[in-house]
Symmetry: D2
């Protein structure tokens, strides 16, 4: 169980092919890591079912500032917190760290909007996911 005072943290192993010619993780790997941490939390903690559930979570915006470099075989960790909880969307504020020493490598944002599986029109955040967010994270006042 996670308490609301600590962000959710997930380690993500890097891969040989994550490094670019400069010997560093390519910038897109950080977005893969954010996407992976958010979806892992939504599937394993909050009950999102990407294959059969009525609502899907689409990324509508993201950003990242890259502050220090890392490279395979470093392990990185993603720490999730919430920047904004809206009616149909949630904006995450992931931090990416080198797992072994907690050096901060990058900070990002990642906005997930929930949509109806059939129409792909926005829908309210599913109740179970909203409750899980409110229970597990510190949610900023609107």
């Amino acid at each position: 169980m996670i308490d609301g005072t600590r962000p959710y943290r997930l380690a993500v192993a890097t891969r040989w092919n994550d490094n670019d010619v400069y010997g560093h993780l390519n910038n897109t790997v950080y977005y893969q890591a954010m996407d992976t941490a958010i979806n892992t939390w939504m599937i394993t903690v909050a009950g999102l079912d990407p294959l059969h559930g009525p609502a899907l979570g689409f990324c509508v915006a993201s950003s990242c500032e890259f502050q220090a470099s890392a490279g395979f075989p470093d392990e990185i960790a993603v720490e999730l917190s919430i920047a904004k909880l809206g009616t149909t969307s949630v904006t995450w504020a992931p931090r990416i760290l080198r797992d072994r020493d907690d050096t901060q490598l990058a900070v990002g944002t990642f906005t997930t909007v929930f949509v109806d599986r059939e129409t792909t029109r926005p829908v309210p955040i599913p109740t179970g996911i909203r409750l899980a967010i409110e229970s597990e994270f510190a949610v900023p006042a609107a």
Copy 2:
């Protein structure tokens, strides 16, 4: 030759594995496409040599707003323009389009800082690259 009134445009073929379980290009593919268009331009037009040149171009920040979805086997196109030209860095403003009908799929930003290959400290944008940027793009006044 590109004239400064038209953005540089590069088509990027999508791949089977770019689609996620929702049948759309994963959000990280858009960042791969921006990175590819910017590096293609810098290598083939502006003379960047990633393997042997004295200066390297590192991504220090990027962002993307996703406006419409596309999926393999759609071809996408990246149109580059310049948002800001600084002393050691350049901020690109890529647009991503569906190649066959020019539907705008996403708009992004991507900041490249130039660094010394040995020290990885920032250095002025190499002269040849700066001249190519000023020659090929409309550069906003500072």
Copy 3:
């Protein structure tokens, strides 16, 4: 239209992040290219519908011999031919070439088995796809 005497050929643009630290396309990019060429042909020529059709095509075996290296921003091309056409599966024999000069970079094999979307048990190759294969490729005698 393709005639049976020439293999199907698809150009695949490479991406900045396809290169590994040695400045070459990572070996997994060649498998992405084979998978992309085969699925492009099956979707655009033979009528496979990955999202709604009754049968799906799963990769059950693949292999590749890497003979020469290439690197971004080289464009590569995949040429498809048929090594074996069975009842429920087809084995492709892709060649990968540098697009601009036809240097052979790699030769592979890739076996697609068709399965029922619901049960994922093997099913006969859908009639339309079998006819397209027989019409467009030289099929070795069993």
Copy 4:
């Protein structure tokens, strides 16, 4: 320390974007996992230095048979053993398992040839790496 009677095993976390539209890990992810396990072992156990060492390890051939499917957020594990140890090359025989229950998902082969960093011509396997292989793995008689 690994003893020669047990293969080297490395867990590889899967990522959201590893799944294809069928909800399974794309076949190329298995090759990424093999490549990652082999390079992790060579760098962290056997002393390969991809950025500065005199010899590099290139993949010259690989293959995989896919026996069962897995999907994000499953964790997979790669078990390495040696199929053939030659003068300038080593052929690995990786098995890929679902980490939580050891279901065998795939078996592969992966041949690494060592080359001189400058000339990229084959060279004998570096002594430290050969000794590590002979010490840590059961090596089949030639």
